[in-house]
Amino acid sequence: MNMIELDNVTKTYGEITALDGVSLKIPRGELLTLIGPNGSGKTTLLKILACIEKPTRGKVYIDNDLVKERSVTKLRLKGTMVFQKTVLFNATTYENIAYGLKLRGFLKEQINERVRNALKLVKLEGYEKRPAKKLSGGEQQRVSLARALTLRTELLLLDEPIANLDQRSASIIEAAISRIERETSTTVVLATHNLFQVKALSEKVALINNGRLIQVGKAHEILGDSRKLADFARIENIFPGVSHITKHGTSLIDIGDNVQIEASIRKSGKISVFVRPEDIILSKIKIASSARNVFEGKIVEISDLGPTVRLGIDAGKQFVVQITKRSFVEMQLNLSSKVFVTFKASSVETID
């Protein structure tokens, strides 16, 4: 029994082809992780599965029913989607979570009960009367998840549910998703560009790039060639280089352009290392600390991700750093501001 079947689905927006002949079957009760870089078509695919977008060509079957103009409103009820960018109604947390339940005609007591349970699941007990838009970024995303989970749909579509969230919110959301997956027969499709989420959560993985499905298979089959995957999933701050072991027992990796990274690993020879953007400290003056890696650079790229800001720093090599919006504002950073990036040798990880 397939919950979802896509038959040669193509979606174009004017000149742009977002999805290009995607065929895919997802059996009932399965968790499928969709991995691909930003702009690869993950969101479009999820929106088509959610019956929000219509495919330009091709057929979509949900629960063995062909999605047609006439049946779309009915089939849409079988699934629900959590968007990457948190969207909330300008209302209380309760109103937000109750919206879908009201549409489905639940009674007041049932709605109260379900909202309470949903909030408990995302660890926001007692938040009913709070205006949803006044919550923090992580709390807002937890409300969106609760709002989706409370519907208990057969199909759950999650678009980068923990991207750019604080650690606590991310782990609460991961736990809630795991629990749904473990305790219910919900079919879950989770889109991510974060390779590490795959290892933690997934059974089956589909790789997508430029709107095409590259490979579908069990996680361990595909994750075998992790270098290719890392490249694919765009882990930031990947640096290929040559490593030699220092007399202190750490490794010094020459990544070219006169940049050397110290790592608390013991490996020599050719190696690829990476540093997570959230592990890098950004400062306007050089800070004295125990961290072994300090580089001076200037900001060459700024992208606003809502609660956080992602910066590209040119320090010989380009580093991607993620900081909160608040820090960004307080530090009064601009393009070409001079900054220092600092990270510990233990934050440097190898890819293989």
Partner: protein, 257 residues
């Protein structure tokens, strides 16, 4: 630092304006006497003034209610829609916001007067006729502002409503609900335009005492007759109504945010 922030020119202009107003008030004795008379009239709750005021509110309120019926859904459809010629349609309504009330009044007069093609509707010299005319007048404004308010709502709200189980219509309602602050501004602004206009009220209503006389037509007539005190009283009331609506809008917007 303080000196650098000090801006003398706006201050001087304000002073000159206040001085000019004082000179006018003092020199035009008529005005001074008028104010005194106006206050007496308002405080004594002159029945005719009360009647004209309430009729003004009633007619323009009806006009606003009528305009809401077709303008808000139209604004919603244009705001949500993605069709060829959308900019053209928006452009037309934007241009029509500024339609002169006398021009529209004249057109309506030609249509509605007893010898006109729509004379059989019996809207000429009829409060309902004035309301309909004002409703037409404020329609472009209400549509334009509603469209803008709807477009200002996060585009994902519609998708969100749908994925939570809403049909197209229910999703459109969700967007409308999110745009309430903007739509309420459109409605309040339209009411103010209706109650403050003169052209349509005069040409369609003909300022008939006890039937179609409203604040603006009464002010125009009384001024013409030299009843300055009465004119000022009516104008003050009109100002108070318009400003109260403004304050109310402000409060409402703050509540909704």
């Amino acid at each position: 630092m303080m000196l650098r922030k000090f801006k003398p020119i706006p201050l001087i202009i304000s002073f000159l304006m206040i001085a000019a107003i004082i000179i006018v008030i003092v020199s035009v004795e008529e005005f001074y006497e008028g104010i005194k008379g106006a206050i007496v009239l308002i405080v004594s709750a002159d029945p005719e003034i009360m009647e004209v005021t309430l009729r003004s509110i009633y007619i323009s309120g009806t006009a606003t209610a009528l305009a809401i019926i077709w303008s808000v859904p139209t604004g919603l459809v244009i705001g949500l829609g993605d069709f060829a010629g959308k900019d053209f349609v928006r452009g037309i309504f934007n241009a029509l916001i500024g339609i002169p009330t006398v021009a529209l009044g004249l057109i309506l007069y030609l249509l509605l007067s007893s010898s006109g093609p729509l004379g059989f509707l019996d809207l000429f010299i009829n409060p309902l006729g004035v309301a309909v005319g004002q409703a037409i007048l404020i329609t472009p404004m209400m549509i334009s502002f509603t469209t803008s308010a709807v477009e200002a709502v996060e585009p994902d709200i519609k998708d969100l409503a749908k994925t939570l189980g809403a049909s197209e219509v229910e999703a459109a309602f969700a967007v409308l609900k999110e745009s309430t602050p903007g739509v309420s501004l459109a409605v309040m602004g339209s009411f103010n335009r209706a109650i403050a206009e003169l052209g349509i009220a005069f040409m369609i209503g003909q300022n008939i005492r006890g039937s179609t006389r409203v604040l603006t037509t009464a002010i125009a007539m009384e001024t013409g007759r030299g009843e300055i005190a009465l004119s000022i009283a009516l104008a003050l009331i009109l100002l108070v109504v318009v400003l109260s609506i403004g304050v109310l809008t402000n409060l409402l917007q703050r509540r909704l945010r």
